[in-house]
Symmetry: C2
Subunit: 196 residues, 2 copies
């Protein structure tokens, strides 16, 4: 007999399935019922885990943000220098995009584009993007100290430009079904503008 699932396992499964749904079909295009069906949870028990679709959305954004932080830690930790760490992080994302055949893209940017009217979700998105930006800015600063990136522009400004360009390029990737915008974005910025 299968071991009964503990409640927090189920909550986590709902969040993971919800993240996949939101990434594929957006917030409004994802029905709670289809998520519950996939996880095998009866419809009535959704409210045992979340107060509302909005609080479910917040849990999904927070979960996504933790995944990004873990990816950053792994990519930066394994690299021999700061710029290689940045390239490794974006390289992992590109591998994921190829595997998904250029669908999905970035949950934060997709929801940032789609959602209006929820302060709770807007604040979660802002916190997730901010946490990502801060880690990248730290890495840019480390690269500046080692002479890998120009030091005459503030690391936070460079990190903002890099991540905003990346996010725009991810949307272009989704529309055109090719990695080209992502490769060119990194070449133009990390490979040229950011050089000392």
């Amino acid at each position: 007999m299968a071991r009964p699932r503990r409640s927090d396992d189920t909550r986590q499964l709902l969040v993971e399935e919800g993240a996949a749904g939101f990434l594929a079909n957006g917030y409004h295009g994802t029905g709670i019922k289809q998520i519950l069906d996939k996880v095998g949870v009866p419809k009535g028990s959704f409210y045992n885990y979340f107060d509302s679709k909005e609080s479910f959305g917040r849990a999904i954004i927070d979960h996504h943000s933790l995944c990004v932080q873990r990816n950053l830690t792994e990519a930066f930790g394994a690299a021999t220098d700061p710029v290689s760490g940045l390239r490794a992080f974006f390289g992992r994302l590109m591998d994921d995009f190829v595997e998904a055949e250029f669908t999905g893209g970035c949950l934060i940017a997709n929801l940032g584009g789609e959602l209006e009217g929820s302060e709770v979700l807007r604040e979660s998105l802002s916190a997730a993007w901010g946490a990502w930006r801060d880690r990248v800015a730290e890495q840019v600063k480390a690269a500046q100290r080692q002479g890998q990136i120009r030091s005459d522009i503030d690391a936070v400004d460079l990190a903002d430009l890099l991540l905003e360009s990346w996010e725009g390029a991810v949307i272009k990737m989704k529309i055109d079904r090719t990695l080209d915008p992502l490769r060119k974005c990194l070449d133009r910025l990390l490979g040229d503008y950011f050089r000392p």
Copy 2:
């Protein structure tokens, strides 16, 4: 007595109301019924104008693309030099964003992030972005000829970087409710990296 609306007036009103709806609530978050109600069209007659929600979406993207083209023509036409034309175009967009209190953003990027699964809509988005990029690349090329923008990087590559950075910055603007990302994007690129 009010003059009866001609059929193509009604179609245009549906497209304009639909564009506003999609911008505020996304494709999946916008119901056909709410659009019909706003325009004052009975529910059953939607299919007199469009085959499906997808073909309605295509008409909205095409309409938005024509608006962008008109804005480009006006901004570039009124400017005394190519870079001023680019700045005027983005300046108009920023004025619109302030007026909308940083909601909405860019329809093409929002739908590009949200939509999966419709080749028809993906191709419309690709065509709209491509037409925009081509006009901006022409303007960059004109600026290169006049020595306003560096000529050692292809104009199309610069236009891609500018528009992708802009689109990412628009999403950041929506999330953080401030023009700062947009101003910084233009300062870093037009005001620095693109300079001869």
